[in-house]
């Protein structure tokens, strides 16, 4: 299995604060890679660097064979990266269906004129892309709320909709930022099933930031541990759990 994503010597600074210091790790194609670590370790920042939202001062990210320091978030999307956000970034003014449909925007080639007149290509595309979206809606079991404005949904369901929006773009790699945050046991079980199925059935590489150790141990193939912006662990779940540095970091032993 090849490495679809290679992070090499990335350093990210905000003014005087070093969010990430010299981090390198690889993600194999088709694996589920969990990025864990105490709060403030730089995990979200790492995801943002991969995705192009933040520009690192040093280092390169090689994705799909192409090495770059920076990538425009839009180009990242076109190249097959899709993601969710820690603090849900759904479009609050739209319904579930509309939100997920926005995930298909790269597949819509018709011009605004055609769309305004509702003719030809525009109509066909709405039909075809709606079909793709409905498949995802069915998979995530959210048929009953498809016309509900997302602002009215509880937190857990919003997270699911966000996953749907990312999934519907048919990405090569899925970047999930705390997809289970704030969920109860049942919701977490559902979410884990979804993530596993997405990975196994469709072969989509998944990089996810997660805090729940149970989930991490259960579903991930590969774990990367960050603490204070540095990498302190990298390997299979079992290896990482046995790593003394990792245990210290979580128990708060000063280091």
């Amino acid at each position: 299995m090849t490495d679809i994503l290679k992070v090499e010597n990335v350093t990210l600074q905000f003014g005087g604060v070093k969010a990430i210091t010299d981090i390198s790790f690889n993600v194999k194609e088709g694996e589920i890679c969990a990025v864990i670590g105490p709060n403030g370790a730089g995990k979200s920042s790492m995801l943002n660097v991969i995705n192009g939202v933040y520009l690192p001062q040093i280092g390169t990210v090689t994705y799909d064979g192409v090495a770059r320091r920076s990538i425009n978030p839009r180009d990242a999307a076109i190249a097959g990266m899709a993601r969710t956000f820690q603090n849900i970034a759904l479009f609050q003014g739209m319904t579930v269906l509309e939100n997920i449909m926005t995930g298909r925007n790269l597949f819509m080639k018709s011009t605004w004129l055609e769309q305004g007149l509702n003719i030809g290509r525009a109509r066909e595309e709405e039909k075809i892309n709606r079909l793709a979206v409905e498949k995802v809606i069915k998979f995530l079991q959210i048929e009953s709320i498809r016309k509900t404005p997302v602002a009215k949904l509880p937190y857990g369901l919003q997270k699911r909709v966000e996953l749907g929006r990312a999934l519907v773009a048919e990405p090569k790699i899925l970047l999930l930022d705390e997809p289970m945050a704030g969920m109860n046991l049942e919701e977490k079980a559902d979410m884990s099933c979804f993530i596993l199925e997405i990975n196994k059935e469709q072969g989509i590489t998944t990089v996810m930031i997660e805090h729940d150790m149970g989930v991490v141990m259960d579903i991930s193939d590969h774990v990367v541990v960050l603490d204070y912006g540095k990498k302190i662990g990298d390997g299979s779940p079992k290896e990482v759990m046995a790593n003394q540095d990792v245990i210290d970091a979580y128990l708060g032993v000063s280091h």
Binding site: I78, W112, L117, R165
Partner: protein, 364 residues
Amino acid sequence: MIYRETGNFVTNYLKDREIFPLKFDKIIVILGLLILYLYVPTMSEYALSAHIVPILAVGLATVGLNILTGLTGQLSLGTAGFMCVGAFGTYNLMLRVPENLMSLPVALLISGIFAGLVGVIFGLPAIRIKGFYLLVSTLAAQYFVWWFFNSYAWFLNYESSGVVAIAPKMYDYWGLGNLFGVDMQGYPARYLLALTICLGLTYFAKNLLRSNTGRNFMSVRDRDIAASVMGISVPRTKLLAFFVSCFYCGVAGGIYSFLYIGNVDLMIYEIDRSFTILFMLIIGGLGSISGSWLGAIFVYEFPIVFTWIGDYLFQGAFNTAVVENVSNMVYGVFIIALLIREPGGFAALWGTTKQKLRMWPYPH
């Protein structure tokens, strides 16, 4: 009950997207169109010239502003400036292009494109500037456009008074004079032209709202970083919104000057006009096309109705200053009250009313 919303099942995705999914609604629309096209032109000249045509003009401008501010979240106070471009554009096209090549509908649409382009230029800063800071750009547009047409007298054909009355022959279609024996300068003809343009553009706007472009607009309004992460080009979306919105405003300006007032006059397109349209938008409900029309009707008709009340019930006690001041107070109160109780404006009020009617006589 004749009006049944249940039992109408959609069988394919395209049907799910229709603007009027209920059969009964479709019938209402057809009836409405028949009334609009066959009965209304026979109404009095007063009704057409003082009420219906001006509402068509300002309503269209409100729809335009809605696309920019309501759908895409870009605050604009330059509406009247863009209307001005449309009015002056139409005038100059009709004046300078040989008769047999140009007619009023064509001139209106082309000047709309001019307005759209001007909008794109003043929309460029929106790529960098966000939020309230963006007000500068549209205000700059408003004042600059006004100054521009005021300074270069060529645009008004060197008319020293600053106001140009539109010549009758400008209403001819391709220099053909009367079309089918109908007086093109007469109000029924003007109304039909305005109506057709407004209906067409409103239909276009509604489609746009439901399409990928509309979703792109709204995503830029709601969370532009997330939008770009999904592959949506935020700059391109913003500029497109400016273009389309200002196109609408430009056409509305042309309609206002040519089909309503009959003059091209800079005083029509000053900043208070921009505010009036903004009030129409807020009261009608941001993001709702039908709301824009409701808001336009309300804001336009209120002073007229109020004056009428004064004349009939209080023997003309309300002079123009009083009417204007009371109107402003009413608009202000309505805006604040609506924002507190029903932020979706009249459009949302209508939706809530429909819901209550569905439930009646049950409270919920």
